[in-house]
């Protein structure tokens, strides 16, 4: 499996579950984090779990690597560029909504969480398109 594909799977498995839990808590049990400090605390825990999971996965991946080069070649770069281009437009749309529309309709943590949601969605899209790039026939 190419290194970029492994990293895409790693990102998917470390990022999506923790942020899914975060957004579920924010949407269904906002009373669990009543103060700004507790909300920042939850966000810090989620970001920390994501980072620790990713770093641990990267270390395991490098240890199990059987002499495969860790550099990307032209196919990896082409797949990455294509996936990143699509994710960029989603992120751009999200930032327009969050930065130019929501300040007039919402405020506070709703804006913060919406920005975070668009970042997670854009990154998820990038990862899914990367995986699709390696398996075009399987993923359609």
């Amino acid at each position: 499996m190419p290194i970029l594909e492994k990293r895409a799977w790693l990102t998917l498995w470390t990022m999506c579950p923790v942020y899914l839990v975060y957004f579920l808590i924010q949407a269904t049990y906002p009373q669990l984090t009543p103060t700004y400090l507790s909300r920042f605390g939850l966000l810090a825990i989620v970001a920390g779990l994501h980072a620790v999971g990713y770093i641990a996965g990267e270390l395991v991946m490098r240890r199990q690597n059987r002499g495969e080069p860790l550099d990307r070649d032209e196919r990896d770069r082409a797949i990455d560029a294509s996936a990143t281009r699509s994710a960029y437009f989603l992120l751009l749309t999200g930032m327009i909504v969050v930065g130019m529309v929501m300040p007039f309709t919402d405020s506070g943590w709703k804006v913060v969480n919406s920005a975070l949601l668009f970042i997670v969605l854009a990154e998820t899209l990038r990862v899914l398109l990367t995986l699709r790039g390696y398996h075009p026939r399987v993923a359609g």
């Binding site: 190419p2 290194i3 196919r75 075009p136």
Partner: protein
């Protein structure tokens, strides 16, 4: 390309990849027709086998004629 590797002292995909600056997986993708390499890489692969580029790769039009692909000659 598989045949050319076999004739070149049974060169592995990893060996060929190292010589042209690609990963083993990308060489496999080229051989399976899942990836069309850049012109630069195509020239380098042909050079490894001491062949002309058109002896290693051929151009084909797909069934709909909508897409063109440079694929490795099997």
């Amino acid at each position: 390309m598989k045949l050319l590797r076999f004739l070149a002292q049974e060169m592995t995909q990893a060996d060929l990849g190292r010589r042209v600056g690609l990963t083993r997986q990308t060489i496999a993708a080229i051989e399976q027709g899942r990836y069309s390499p850049s012109l630069d890489v195509a020239f380098r692969i042909a050079d490894v086998f001491g062949k002309r580029i058109d002896e290693v790769f051929h151009w084909r039009r797909d069934a709909e004629g909508a897409q063109h692909a440079a694929t490795a000659a099997k």
